[in-house]
Symmetry: C2
Subunit: 342 residues, 2 copies
C-alpha cells in the first residue's frame, strides 16, 4: 500500500477558525466536465453609464439622486435586508418554533465613480480610500447602541449574485452576531485563553515557515490559501500584527492592506484571463462589549471558478447535506496563484 | 410603532435541528432584479441517448458497459470523491494544521432506464423501487467496517451542478460523520435525552396543528416548509412515525414515502412550469455504534429558484460570511406550493 499523500489521497482537513472539516479529493481534479458553464462577461463598459443606479449624478429607484462624487460614495441600501426601524418582538411556540425581530442597517459603498473599473484596475491610493471608508463605517456603525456586528463584503460578478458591475460593496450591520463570526469568536477566544497568542498569528507563523500556501506578502499583510480552504482559489488576507479591527491599523498598515488587495485581485484576474468573480468580506471583532482579545482581523476571498472562466465549483448535494468538498488541493492553487506574480 | 409581524419585519428564526439561525427579510421580496438569469433547460430528451453514460447498454468513461437494466441500476462512481483503497495516515503540524486520510465509497444510482424521465414523471411504483434500493444500499454500506455514515442525495438540474439529465442520484459513504448529520445527531440526542421524544416528532405535531407550512401529507409522510427554511422553496419530507433509518420503514410507509416524493416533485415542477432544480438528500442515523435513539429519518429538498424559472437565490457575500438569509417567508412559500395541489 502506498504511503498517505496529501497531494494524492482523499482526506479531511480541519478548519480551526470555524471548527469544521473540509473533504479534499485531489485525484478528482482530473474528471471530465459536461455540466453547466457560465456566460463569460464581456468587459467593455463605459466610464459612465446613464442607466446605472450607482454612477455619479444618476437617480436611484427610490428617486434619490447620487451626488457627483469623485472618490468613494456610501448610502443606505434602498432594498436593505435589515432596517433600523424594525419593531422589537418575538414569536415563540414551544421550544421548537422561535423567531426574534432583528434590527440593522444595510449600506452600499461605491469604490469609484468610474463604472468601468474593478478593484484590481484601481490605483493603490484609491483602494486606500476604500479601506479608509471601511474603517470609518465600521467604527461609526459600531457605536450605534443596537449594532453588535458590522459585516463588510463585496459580491463581484454576475455569478456571485451581483446585479450591477459598477465597483461596489456592501455593509450589513445588525444586532445579532451572525454564525460565521460568532464561531470565529469562540475558536479565537479559546485559543487565546490557552496560548495568550492569537490563533491566526500562530497560524501565519506556520504558513510563513512552510511557504507552500503563501500567495503574496508585503511588510504588513500576507495573502495565503488557507490549509483548510473550501473554494478552489479561496484566499485569506491578514495583517502580520495581531489587531482586532480596522480602527487599530496604522497608516502604513492600511497602505499595505490596499497594496495587498490590489495585488491579490490582479492575480485573480489572470488565473483565467477574466474579471475574476468572488465574494469577499472582512471579519473583525463584533462591536458589542464582550472581551475580544483573541480576535485577529482578516479578509476572506471566496471565488467560485474552478477549471476555466466558465466552469465553477458547485457546492450542492453532498456539500449542502454533509461537509464542504474540494478537488484541487490548496497547495496546487497557491502555486498557481503565486506563479502569476513571478 | 407597529407590532412585530413575522410576515412584514426582518427577523431571525432558529433552526433547532442544526442549532443555527436564518435571517428572514420579508419586505425584500419586492426588490427588482437586474442580475444573472439562468438558462432554462429545454426538456425534449429522447427515451434513450446513445451518448449518455447512464443509459442502458452504453459504455462509460472507464470502458465499462452498463447492463440493459429495466428499473434501477447502481454502480461505483468512476470519479468518486472517496475511495475504499485510500491508505490510512495523517498530516499534523502544531495544533493548527491537521489533516486525516478518509476512506469511503461513492456510488451512482440510476432511477430509471428512461433518459427522458425525472422523479415526478415516474410511476409511484417505480419510485418505490428507488426507495427500496436506497434502503438496501444504506443497510449494506452501513455494514462495512470502515463506513460510519451513508449520504444519499440527488443533484437535479444543471444549475445544481448536475452534468447529466438522466435521472440519477448519488451515495457518498465514508468513515467520518459529516458536519450536517453530526450536528443533527447532537441536537436530536439532546432533545431526546430531555424529552424522551424525537425532536422532529414534536416539531411535526406543532406543524400539523398550525398547518401554515404543510405542503402535502399522506397517512405516513408529511412534506412541509420548515419554519427555519433557508432556500426559497425548501421543504422537508418526514415520516409521522419516529424511525431512525430507511431499514425500519414498514411496507406501507415505503409506499407512502414514494407517493410523497412523487407529489412534492410534481408540485415543484408546477411552481415555474419548468423541471424544478434542487439538491435533495436523506438524513438518517449514522451507521456507527453510537446510541442514535433520538434520530428521526427525514429528507431535505433545497431548490435554488426564487422568482422565476431563470432567477435563483444567490447564497453569496453575507450568507458565506455571516448567516443564511431569505426574502420570501416560509409561510408564503408553503401557501404557494400547497395551492398548486388544490
Ligand atoms: O459528482 P458530480 O455529480 O459530477 O458532482 C456534483 O456533485 C458533487 C456532490 O454534491 C459536487 O461536489 C460537485 O461539485 C457537483 O458538480
Ligand atoms: O443586495 P444584493 O446585492 O442585490 O444581493 C446579493 O447579495 C446579498 C447578500 O450577500 C444576497 O442575499 C443576495 O442573494 C444577492 O443577490
Amino acid at each position: 500500500m502506498p504511503d498517505f499523500d496529501l497531494a494524492e489521497h482523499p482526506h479531511r482537513r480541519y478548519n480551526p477558525l470555524l471548527d469544521e472539516w473540509v473533504l479534499v479529493s485531489p485525484h478528482r481534479a482530473k474528471r471530465p466536465w459536461q455540466g453547466q458553464e457560465e456566460d463569460v462577461q464581456k468587459d467593455a463598459r463605459p466610464e459612465y453609464d446613464p442607466t446605472c443606479y450607482l454612477c455619479p449624478t444618476n437617480t436611484r429607484a427610490n428617486g434619490e439622486k447620487n451626488p457627483d462624487y469623485t472618490s468613494t460614495y456610501v448610502f443606505e441600501n434602498d432594498f436593505g435586508a435589515l432596517q433600523a426601524t424594525t419593531p422589537e418582538g418575538a414569536y415563540t411556540k414551544g421550544k421548537l418554533l422561535r423567531a426574534e425581530s432583528e434590527r440593522g442597517i444595510c449600506k452600499v459603498i461605491c469604490f469609484s465613480p468610474r463604472h468601468d473599473l474593478t478593484l484590481p484596475d484601481m490605483e493603490v491610493a484609491d483602494i486606500r480610500k476604500v479601506v479608509d471608508l471601511w474603517e470609518l463605517e465600521y467604527l461609526e456603525l459600531g457605536k450605534i447602541d443596537f449594532i453588535n456586528h458590522v459585516q463588510i463584503f463585496e459580491n463581484k460578478g454576475a455569478v456571485m449574485g451581483c446585479s450591477n458591475p459598477h465597483p461596489h460593496g456592501q455593509i450589513w450591520a445588525q444586532s445579532a452576531v451572525p454564525a460565521g463570526p460568532a464561531r470565529e469568536s469562540k475558536t479565537q477566544a479559546a485559543y487565546y485563553a490557552a496560548n495568550k497568542r492569537s490563533l491566526l498569528q500562530d497560524y501565519l507563523e506556520l504558513e510563513l515557515e512552510e511557504q507552500a500556501r503563501i500567495v503574496y506578502s508585503n511588510e504588513h499583510f500576507v495573502a495565503l490559501v488557507p490549509f483548510w480552504a473550501v473554494w478552489p482559489f479561496e484566499t485569506m488576507l491578514l495583517p502580520r500584527r495581531h489587531v482586532q479591527h480596522l480602527g487599530q491599523l496604522r497608516t502604513e498598515e492600511k497602505d499595505a492592506f490596499a497594496d495587498a488587495i490590489k495585488k491579490l485581485t490582479m492575480v485573480y484576474d489572470k488565473v483565467f484571463n477574466v474579471s475574476f468573480p468572488y465574494s469577499a468580506g472582512i471579519h473583525q471583532q463584533p462591536t458589542n462589549n464582550d472581551d475580544h482579545s483573541g480576535w485577529h482581523l482578516h479578509m476572506h476571498f471566496y471565488p467560485p471558478l474552478l477549471r476555466s472562466a466558465s466552469v465553477k465549483k458547485f457546492m450542492v448535494g453532498y456539500e449542502m447535506l454533509g461537509d464542504p468538498q474540494r478537488d484541487i488541493t490548496p497547495e496546487t492553487s497557491a502555486e498557481r496563484l503565486r506563479g502569476i506574480l513571478s
